[in-house]
């Protein structure tokens, strides 16, 4: 049975998709917990991922997608994963990545620093070799960079996934899941001009199918309202409303009002029209909205997300569940949010679901 795990990481992202056939697809790796701070309630993501693989007796992750290279999406990744491009990232206890998914920017932009720079080196290495990578990009965007490596777009076309298509790695028939790419995308200004939009961020819709019943999951990266609005408009223009359908929605940017509209609002953010349509009209009954963030503040006006005004919008959408990762099941003791997908679509797994076996499926805390 497919399963989605959202880890409680504060304002950072990591979503693990366990496919029906045992494949694992990890979206982002933002391990910002502080091991020295005993009061830090964020999960030790590195350990959680190690435990998850150990429980499944796997030593690699089939796909790791870095939706973009901001710190809260990659923190700690270069310490955990085996990287092909340099021997110093190749210890015996590192976890191999069969296939890496990155947006165009992680290849072509030169502004990366720290871990982002290391992951960029890995992405570039894999693209150069032509194995174990998918770059989410309009092919033209990569032309110059590939040219400098003595390569053409057609040399690497099997590594490039454009918006409006399915990621070829998985299929409904074989894996029970398919990924439709919304972003990065091009925006057509007129007949001849296409402007590159949001090339630094991957947005996909995953469609799972169990016994003929489909469940759709939007993985929204950190896109701002104007990009989300464009995604809705372009997808509608292509008559692909079903690609905006959702049962589980990972909110962009930790419940930031900026993913709904330019104006925060005093008590509640009012989304722009296309985004209101996306959440209110196009989601399915019983849909689950997940804010990967710190608990929602009850009052005040923090600059940083989560914004209570945005949360107030999501909470009040009729027929949808709103769950905050750092509040699940309680803000005093957050645990990974597990969403099971079966022939009754998505459902939130209860705290006791694993029973005593949950003890043996993870490492014990350190004993003195």
């Amino acid at each position: 049975m497919p399963k989605i795990t959202f880890y409680p990481l504060g304002n950072a992202d990591s979503v693990l998709l366990d496919l029906a056939g045992g494949e694992k697809v990890l979206f982002d790796f933002g391990d910002e917990h502080n091991a020295d701070d005993k009061s830090d309630l964020r999960i030790d993501l590195t350990q959680a991922i190690r435990d998850n693989l150990a429980d499944a007796q796997k030593d690699l992750i089939d796909v790791v997608a870095f939706t973009h290279l901001d710190r809260d999406h990659i923190c700690g990744a270069t310490a955990l994963f085996w990287l092909n491009h340099a021997a110093k990232y190749q210890g015996a206890d590192r976890i191999r990545i069969d296939e890496m998914w990155v947006p165009a920017a992680s290849i072509v932009d030169d502004a990366c620093e720290d871990e982002a720079k290391i992951l960029q080196a890995e992405a570039r290495h894999r693209l150069k070799v032509g194995k174990g990578i998918r770059v989410f990009s309009r092919p033209d965007v990569l032309k110059d960079w590939l040219g400098k490596q003595g390569l053409t777009v057609s040399d690497r076309s099997n590594c490039i996934v454009d918006a409006g298509t399915l990621v070829p790695t998985f299929s409904l028939a074989k894996h029970g899941v398919e990924f439709f790419v919304h972003s990065p995308f091009g925006h057509r200004l007129n007949v001849t001009e296409v402007v590159e939009r949001n090339r630094d961020s991957i947005v996909v819709q995953a469609t799972f199918e169990v016994q003929g019943e489909q469940t759709k999951v939007m993985l929204g990266s950190d896109v701002k309202w104007d990009h989300l609005q464009d995604i809705v408009a372009i997808t509608k223009a292509h008559g692909r409303e079903s690609r905006l359908d959702w049962d589980v929605f990972k909110l962009p940017h930790h419940c930031s009002y900026l993913s709904l509209a330019e104006e925060k609002g005093t008590d509640k953010t009012i989304p722009v029209e296309e985004i209101a349509w996306l959440y209110e009209t196009n989601g399915n009954a019983g849909g689950i909205i997940v804010s990967t963030s710190w608990p929602i503040p009850l009052a005040g006006d923090d600059v940083q997300p989560p914004h209570r005004q945005a949360a107030n919008y999501y909470k009040r959408i009729a027929g949808r569940k709103f769950i905050v990762t750092m509040e699940h099941p309680s803000s005093g003791n957050p645990k990974p949010l597990v969403i099971m997908i079966d022939h009754t679509k998505a459902r939130v797994e209860g705290a006791l679901a694993g029973g005593v076996s949950s003890v043996t499926s993870q490492s014990t805390p350190r004993a003195g």
């Binding site: 019943e213 469940t215 049962d247 399915n284 009954a285 019983g286 849909g287 099941p329 309680s330 099971m340 079966d342 022939h343 009754t344 679509k345 998505a346 459902r347 939130v348 797994e349 209860g350 705290a351 006791l352 679901a353 029973g355």
Partner: protein, 734 residues
């Protein structure tokens, strides 16, 4: 009953700590203290030996549940203060589904009652914890939401705690509509326990039930509520001109006419259940009701009998809708069908049709195993009668002494499952043509006759294309043997048998297999099982044999196995035997079958000695009656043999001892049957002058014994088989 009334019926709200039932107290405390239980205590109530908790239980429910279960359900959990039984669990939400599986059929007016477990209550005490109960309730809710609480192989048996009694009904009534011309009656088989039988099998008098059966119009759901009176029941099932009340009234008049006043009037209702409106009937839900304490009382309640008038007088029948006639419900159990017996045994319910020969110790017990697993034989053939010594190891008991085994075993097998077609018993002797009619009709023949003569007749002479499968014990009873022909019968039973002997003579693991202990002999054959054999050992073989027969029957290929029981440890080892088809040749009046293994062996020995000739003696079996020779093996050239490129003299050093020992190992079932030698490359297999002299020597010795002299000449490309006076040629198998 309204929700308020249901709650009030469980007494006033009390402090959870003051509840009488310890388990109720512990669950209440656990819910309050352990957030991970994901349940909320609403209140606690106490009344008359029942401690109740009202609890909101959280469950993981998908967006699109198959049944309308919500992610938070309010349940009332009523604990027996004396802790004698499972708590009763009621779902309090209005609109909670009432047509899902595993609801107890609740008393009238009560909310739906969840059947949490079929485990006996005493068995769960060792595992009990407050979390255990919460987990069970959550499991019920989550599995019902997914629609998979009810496993497909689980029969629907709504169970009622307070029932008028229990009614055992023929399984046919659940699977097909009752033949309306077929009348049913009930007979009492225990306290408040009745069995529905065809009317002609019911006792003529003294029945406590007056019985009527009806087929209701089809509907799409099971009836999960309990109608409180006849009018309510009629409202549930009446449709398309079906008028239950009128039918009951007519039946009361008929009972009156038959002077049945006092029996409990009982209605058996068959409700066809379809998946969709107007769709095909998938099964029949069978419900039974006690309509009143007596027929007279029913008549009074329906307004058609007036007590003030002498019995039998009827008054107006119109205008009474039955709402004054309270109902009681019977628990209904279906009899065991062949299919359900198979399912309970974890076997495929597909029909296996076979004729069984031999109802002795092994046969009778093995057939019972097969029959309990839903695979009874169509016929049992055996010509013996049951004698006292049989009972030590037989399905039948001493009350059947003197009975024909076939008939008594067939009768016993027929009473395992409620099958329309009983097992037939026949005393026809398989050694004569008396049984040929049965055999030629058979789809599969299972031979457990413990007789080589029977097996041979089945293999060679008996009619019918059905494959034969033989099961028998070795003389000591320690080993079970299976010989199964392939579907096309290319590996015939007699071929499997002689090759089995050869394996026994050769395989170190099978040493001693055919060596008999000193038994109490009643017969002569090596398969006779009247020796000192433990019933416990026989039971092991009867179990193994029944399973092996099913496996063999489901595999079109031939198979042959020996199971050896070590009685000291109970370990059973299995040896697989040769099943390759034998090569046939007709020579004069004789048919000669040669095993592939033998042909391989002589070819390889010839090749190993080239350019010299070589040879040895042939081991096999002879069927003088049918003029069949089976050649299965050889003893290699003794050390004093002499071999040249142009000739071969078979020596004799140690040969007699070797052959004697070999034949003894197989209980005399194999013997010396002739000689073989090779011709070099470039030579034909035509006998040379020397060969003719050698053959004459052989013929002289064997003809005197009344046996055919057999000589094989093995060349590069063919094998020649000579039986005086004719000659024949066989293709050599490379």
């Amino acid at each position: 009953m309204t929700l308020e009334e249901v709650l009030a019926a469980h007494g006033p709200v009390v402090a959870p700590e003051s509840l009488v039932a310890e388990k109720a107290r512990r669950v209440a405390v656990a819910i309050r203290e352990i957030a991970a239980l994901e349940a909320i205590l609403v209140d606690a109530r106490e009344r008359d030996g029942t401690s109740a908790l009202v609890v909101d239980v959280e469950a993981s429910i998908g967006q699109k549940p198959r049944n309308d279960i919500r992610s938070r359900e309010r349940l009332l959990v009523a604990f027996d203060a004396a802790d004698r039984s499972w708590p009763a669990v009621y779902a309090l939400r209005a609109g909670f589904p009432t047509t899902v599986p595993h609801l107890n059929v609740a008393a009238p007016g009560l909310p739906p009652s969840l059947c949490l477990s079929v485990q006996p209550y005493a068995e769960v005490q060792r595992d009990w914890s407050p979390a255990y109960y919460i987990r069970l309730m959550r499991h019920w809710l989550e599995a019902t939401a997914r629609g998979d609480l009810h496993r497909p192989d689980q029969p629907v048996e709504p169970f009622l705690l307070e029932a008028a009694g229990t009614l055992i009904v023929p399984h046919r009534l659940v699977e097909e509509p009752a033949n309306t011309s077929y009348r049913w009656a009930a007979r009492q088989v225990g306290e408040k326990l009745y069995q529905v039988v065809p009317e002609n099998e019911a006792p003529k008098s003294g029945a406590d039930l007056a019985f009527m059966s009806q087929i209701a119009p089809p509907r799409e759901h099971v009836i999960a509520t309990v109608p409180q009176n006849i009018a309510a029941l009629a409202a549930l099932v009446n449709a398309d001109g079906f008028d239950l009340v009128r039918s009951i009234k007519e039946q009361v008049r008929a009972w009156q006419a038959a002077r049945l006043w006092n029996p409990i009037p009982t209605l058996l209702l068959q409700v066809p259940v379809t998946r969709t409106a107007g769709g095909p009937v998938e099964r029949y839900e069978v419900r039974a009701f006690a309509l009143a304490p007596s027929v007279v009382e029913l008549g009074v309640r329906l307004g058609i009998i007036d007590r003030t008038v002498p019995a039998g007088a009827l008054i107006g029948t119109e205008g009474n809708d039955g709402s004054g006639a309270a109902l009681e419900v019977f628990n209904v159990h279906a009899t065991l069908s062949r299919e359900t017996a198979a399912i309970f045994n974890g076997e495929s319910p597909a029909t296996l049709s076979y004729v069984a020969i031999g109802a002795g110790a092994l046969g009778s017990q093995l057939l019972m195993n097969l029959t309990r697993g839903g695979a009874p034989p169509s016929d049992v053939l055996d010509k013996d009668r049951l004698l006292p010594h049989n009972v030590a190891r037989h399905l039948l008991l001493s009350d059947a002494l003197g009975a024909l085994k076939a008939e008594a075993v067939a009768h016993t097998l027929s009473s395992v499952v409620d099958d329309a077609l009983p097992v037939r018993g026949s005393v026809a002797d398989v050694l004569t043509s008396a049984a040929d009619a049965v055999l030629s009709e058979a789809q599969l023949i299972l031979d457990m006759s413990a007789s080589v003569a029977v097996a041979r007749r089945l293999a060679v002479d008996a009619p019918g294309a059905a494959r034969r499968i033989s099961l028998f014990l070795n003389p000591a009873g320690s080993d079970l043997v299976l010989l199964a022909e392939d579907v096309a019968r290319t590996a015939r039973l007699d071929h499997l048998e002689v090759q089995y002997y050869w394996s026994v003579s050769n395989e170190p693991a099978l040493r001693g297999h055919l060596k008999a202990d000193d038994g109490i002999r009643y017969g002569g054959g090596c398969r006779d099982v009247s020796g000192r054999i433990r019933q416990t050992t026989l039971a092991v073989h009867a179990g193994n044999g029944a399973a092996a027969f099913r496996r063999a029957a489901s595999d079109p290929a031939a198979s042959a196995f020996v199971w050896q029981l070590d009685e000291l440890t109970g370990t059973v080892a299995r040896a697989q035997l040769e099943t390759r088809p034998m090569r046939a040749a007709s020579v004069a009046q004789w048919t000669v079958f040669m095993s592939t293994a033998l042909l391989d062996e002589v070819a390889s020995r010839r090749a190993g000695k080239l350019p010299n000739e070589t040879g040895g003696v042939l081991i096999g079996a002879l069927d003088m009656q049918r003029q069949i020779a089976y050649l299965v093996g050889s003893v290699p050239a003794p050390s004093d043999s002499r071999e040249w490129p142009t000739g071969y003299i078979r020596g004799s050093s140690g040969l007699r001892k070797a052959v004697t020992e070999l034949c003894a190992r197989v209980g005399g079932n194999l013997q010396y049957v002739g000689e073989w030698h090779s011709h070099p490359d470039g030579a034909t297999t035509e006998p040379s002058e020397d060969d003719a002299i050698a053959y004459a020597w052989l013929a002289e010795a064997l003809i005197a014994e009344g046996r055919p002299p057999i000589m094989l000449i093995v060349g590069a490309h063919d094998v020649r088989c000579i039986i005086h006076p004719a000659q024949g040629a066989l293709a050599l198998v490379a």
